[in-house]
């Protein structure tokens, strides 16, 4: 097949996902027709209020929660901030340690570190080379003085899925509340908050095909939670500001769709993922899979490719219409290797060659084919100009 028109193979869904057609359609009336404020005392407002509560029920259903346990937020990051700051401030200085895994999203890491200046101690739980949090280490670290433990459900950079049920149980033995960031797992991994027995769980709209600007926090009934955004009585006093009704409708619709299609979707993603992993590991020499080989997100395939740099790699791929991500230092604004790759013990030079594919329902085996027609050549081109690549091998094996 000759590519006459430029083909787009988008595989960076962890960074952004297009809003699904039925989701956008569901949202549209709420911008300019059914626009009333749900807190008002007249019929136009009641109607919106009712619609909003229906969406809350749909989101709750996706994760096995009760509707009143859902707070709508503006993003996964806000949900994470609310979970951590809301919990800590609600019992301020009653206990002064926060435990998070070393591979949390910035919004968790930095929310926790925010408390360092308020005399809290933040402990980072190390992970093994596959990115799994060591539950023994958690047991050793937990103490009377622990205010909260936050460990993500699935990692967005290396795809590893953590044993949340087990980790939460350890925390509860010590009476310590447990939060998990499920932004990476929502919609492709089954989540039941009762079964996982978590106290707080963050999710975000975009991974479900809802728009940017909407997310949610599950908080177990009777959990103490100080608002992050103080205001009036919206979200039962737990989050101020006029509710983002169109976004909420989008999230509700997306949750409903996700609930009904989760199993097939996960199966489809796993098939694509496994094909991509096999093809890359077999098709390109000196490439390593990052994260856990089995306990990983259905649509997640991540690698480190020796002797080349990720930003250049991603850029050159994009010139072929292929879109993926990287945790390379050069690709970050701070010019720092992704802390996740560091935490997995991946040497910095190898981490430079990081590439992350996150797949969606809309991807196909054709996309994988297309990728495999271009990726090996791109890698070869970059290696040809690399000073640390000689005689078809890295100058010094660094992995």
């Amino acid at each position: 097949m000759k590519d006459t028109q430029k083909r787009i193979v988008y595989m960076d869904h962890a960074a952004a996902t297009p809003v699904k057609g039925p989701v956008l359609e569901a949202m549209l009336p709420y911008f300019d027709r059914d626009f009333a404020n749900p807190s008002t005392v007249y019929d136009l407002g009641f109607r919106i209020k009712r619609v909003m509560e229906e969406q809350r029920a749909k989101v709750a259903e996706l994760i096995g929660a009760d509707p009143e346990e859902i707070i709508f937020t503006s993003s996964g990051a806000e949900a994470n901030n609310l979970a951590i700051k809301g919990t800590i401030f609600s019992r301020f200085r009653k206990a002064k340690r926060i435990i998070v895994s070393a591979i949390e999203h910035h919004s968790v890491l930095n929310s926790a570190r925010f408390f360092e200046r308020l005399d809290y101690e933040v402990t980072f739980l190390p992970v093994d080379k596959h990115g799994l949090v060591d539950s023994e280490r958690l047991k050793q670290t937990l103490d009377q003085d622990t205010a909260l433990v936050s460990i993500m459900h699935g990692n967005n950079e290396v795809g590893t899925i953590e044993p949340i049920r087990e980790l939460a149980a350890i925390c509860h033995e010590h009476g310590v509340p447990f939060h998990t960031d499920a932004v990476a797992t929502i919609g492709s991994v089954e989540i039941d908050v009762r079964d996982m027995d978590v106290d707080l769980l963050s999710l975000s709209g975009p991974p479900l095909g809802a728009p940017k600007g909407i997310g949610a926090l599950y908080f177990r009934k009777n959990t103490r939670l100080m608002p992050l955004i103080h205001g009036g009585i919206q979200e039962r006093g737990r989050r101020g500001g006029t509710e983002n009704v169109p976004g909420i409708v989008g999230l509700g619709k997306a949750a409903e769709l996700a609930k009904s299609s989760l199993k097939e979707r996960a199966a489809h993603l796993r098939r694509l993922r496994d094909t991509l992993i096999t093809n890359i590991l077999e098709g390109i020499p000196h490439v390593y899979l990052t994260g856990h080989p089995e306990k990983r997100l259905p649509g997640h395939a991540s690698f480190c490719i020796e002797a080349i740099e990720g930003e250049a790699l991603i850029f050159m791929l994009s010139q072929n219409g292929i879109y993926a991500n990287t945790g390379s230092a050069c690709a970050s604004k701070a010019l720092k290797t992704s802390p996740v790759l560091v935490a997995l013990g991946i040497p910095a030079a190898l981490a430079q060659g990081s590439i992350v594919f996150t797949l969606e329902e809309t991807n196909s085996l054709d996309d994988i084919d297309y990728t495999m027609r271009h990726l090996p050549a791109v890698v070869e081109r970059l290696r040809a100009m690399s000073p640390i690549w000689k005689n078809n091998a890295p100058v010094a094996t660094m992995a």
């Binding site: 050159m316 010139q319 010019l335």
Partner: protein
């Protein structure tokens, strides 16, 4: 984010490669930290007759390398020495702020290659390449003594924060 000019260079970089038996070789950066650039020069009558490079780095680093070779090929050593990172960045139509250091790498690698050439013709032993600039490769954790990658924010051994 990147200018047209950067993209052009990146899409088809000029003068990539190695010069066997180069008159001067300059290497800056360090793969442990992620960026590395090696320049090779061939000099005749004080003129840079040929120049090639290899780069392990980002889009900017590759474009910078390519741009540097364009700017000094056929020029005198004196002219080449006068090349500043600013001139390189300007020739590329500008670089994002956080990528300015990549243009620095280019100018430095060229300078190292020239120094290496000058040392060799003056009969002195070639200076050890950039020894002094080689950064620390590890952070030692103050709590448990474990060696950590230089980029680590916290200890891989005990989980404590590292500064």
């Amino acid at each position: 984010m990147y200018t047209e000019k950067v993209m052009e260079h990146f899409a088809s970089p000029h003068n990539v490669g190695v010069i066997e038996n180069a008159d001067g070789v300059g290497e800056v950066g360090n793969p442990v930290c992620g960026d590395m650039m090696t320049f090779y020069i061939k000099v005749k009558d004080g003129i840079i007759e040929d120049i090639k490079y290899q780069t392990f780095g980002c889009v900017a680093a590759i474009a910078v390398s390519s741009q540097v070779t364009d700017m000094v090929k056929g020029k005198s050593i004196a002219e080449a020495k006068a090349l500043t990172k600013k001139a390189v960045a300007e020739a590329l139509g500008g670089l994002p702020k956080e990528k300015m250091h990549c243009s620095n790498l280019g100018a430095e690698a060229l300078l190292e290659a020239i120094k290496n050439y000058e040392a060799s013709i003056s009969g002195e032993p070639a200076p050890a390449i950039q020894k002094s600039k080689r950064p620390k490769r590890h952070k030692i954790c103050g709590s448990c003594g474990v060696k950590n990658p230089i980029t680590a924010n916290f200890c891989m051994g005990c989980g404590k924060g590292l500064e």
